[in-house]
Amino acid sequence: MLATYGQYWRINVLTFLEYRANFIMWFGFTIVYHFTALAALFVTMHQFPTMNGWDVRQMFFLYAMWMAGHELHNAFFFNVVSVPEYVREGRFDRFLVRPLDSLFQVLTVPSQQFPDGLILATITFCVATAVVGVKVDLLYVAMVPLIAIGGALIDFGISLFVAALSFWFVRVDTLRWVVMSLEQEFTRYPISIYQRGVQFVLAFILPFAFMNYFPATYFLQKTDQGLHLNPVVGLLTPLVGLAWFAVSYAVWRVGVNHYQGTGS
């Protein structure tokens, strides 16, 4: 399986070398996406300098932390979005007759995935770290990659869950798009601006707050003014990511079995 995965990335790199113009186009795409989001943030914070005690630099750090997890997800797990299409067109059946895990096969369909977003996210995160003046010690250096991985798993869990729904419903593309864009919008702000119930959902049900809010609260030495949790929970992101991924993988398995069961 590892050898297959290595092969997959070899093909990706070769494709990238072959289609350099394409790479530049997608890079531009990713830059514009994050640039517009950040520009809106900067303009808003120019007019309103503080949001529940977070200033513009801290809000930038919050965004950069979300971006790290999200782009890590995009680099390695993005192709799960194609599942509804595979199911609709009957191509998913092919994965079921091969001797490898079907999810693994979905993730290794050659699809010209370049880690452009991940590169941009790394740069943005370094800039944000410098700008916000966070204390960079051993714990920070060790935890940040783990938090990014945890964040990516949280993201992956959500996409996998939506993808699994396509075994029961034909069109889930809009749902997926909506979930992704809402994730991006709700994680852009400190969760203390929401009502109790929404905070609870973002922390414990769809744990997006663990992608950026809790870790950022810990590293910026702020207090959680929403749920009043101890800031140390921010370091639990990798575990939350694993747990959340385990749950959605279970749902995925149920979906695959259902799909095989109906033979549709």
Binding site: F29, R171, T174, I193, V198
Partner: protein, 269 residues
């Protein structure tokens, strides 16, 4: 300019009806769309309330006006975010554009009516969405005169938006792949049109430039009229500026369309 239909309007009404029916079959998508809109309205209320609570309110845009602005912008986006000219791309990719051009119809007008039918379905969603919105936020209702000018300005904005999309999609005649370009333009346009944040918040000269760009004619002008930032004295100038952009883009779309139809004939279809 887009050629007017030679015979009658009937086929175009049918195209629009067909597009409406086609979009209405995806019921789950329609529900998701309304659901997402409700969440967005909740979000905008939370965000602006938090921002206004701890900072000095900007001149002439108090919190209730800001929430009205953002809610109306979302409702408008139900209509404006529909890419009514997506069909151009699809017809080009599978080659059926060739037969379309042979039919005794005006093809741009055909695309317009398809887009219009598509939009009509989403426009119908505005009503339930508005009702949900009213459960979450209070929306200011301006005087009837202001409301009338708002709708007029919105209509002009709709056409500007259609022509911008049309021009983008017509580029596909040469490149066949315009998806990335189009999404990029959409994101920039969302930001610069004043859909996400009122353009009056953009500071200094950049603010003045942004307000003068064609994107501002799509969302910003009608919305600023609605919330009263553009007072009655400024209505005529604001509408005039919108019409100016409308004319510019109509000319651009017509030129591109002429060049494109010639291009496809030379290629042999």
């Amino acid at each position: 300019m887009i050629a007017l239909p030679r015979y009658n309007l009937e086929p175009y009404v049918e195209f629009a009806k067909k597009a409406f029916a086609r979009e209405a079959t995806y019921r789950m998508e329609v529900f998701t769309e309304v659901g997402s809109l409700v969440l967005r309205i909740y979000l905008l209320r939370a965000v602006w309330t938090a921002l206004y609570a701890q900072n000095a309110a900007p001149m002439n845009l108090p919190l209730h006006s800001m929430i009205t602005y953002a809610t109306i912008a979302l409702l408008m986006s139900l209509i404006l975010e529909v890419d009514g000219t997506r069909l151009i791309r699809e017809r080009l990719r599978d080659g059926s554009i060739a037969t379309d051009l042979m039919k005794p119809i005006s093809v741009p007008f055909y695309f317009f009516s398809d887009g219009f039918g598509n939009t009509a379905l989403h426009a119908a969603l505005v009503i339930p969405s508005l009702l949900f919105a009213l459960l979450l936020v209070h929306i200011d209702v301006p005087s009837p005169a202001t409301l009338a000018v708002f709708f007029l300005s919105f209509a002009i904005g709709y056409f500007v938006n259609f022509l911008v999309n049309f021009t983008m999609n017509a580029v596909a005649f040469w490149t066949l792949e315009t998806f990335a370009l189009q999404i990029i333009v959409r994101w920039i346009s969302d930001l610069l049109s004043g859909q996400i944040i009122p353009l009056v918040f953009v500071p200094g000269n950049i603010g003045r430039i942004v307000l003068a760009l064609p994107f501002a004619a799509i969302y910003s002008t009608p919305l600023l009229i609605y919330v009263g930032v553009i007072p009655p004295g400024g209505w005529l100038a604001a509408l005039g500026f919108q019409v100016l952009w409308l004319v510019v883009f109509a000319a651009a779309a017509a030129a591109i369309w002429r060049a494109a139809s010639r291009h496809i004939v030379i290629q042999g279809g």
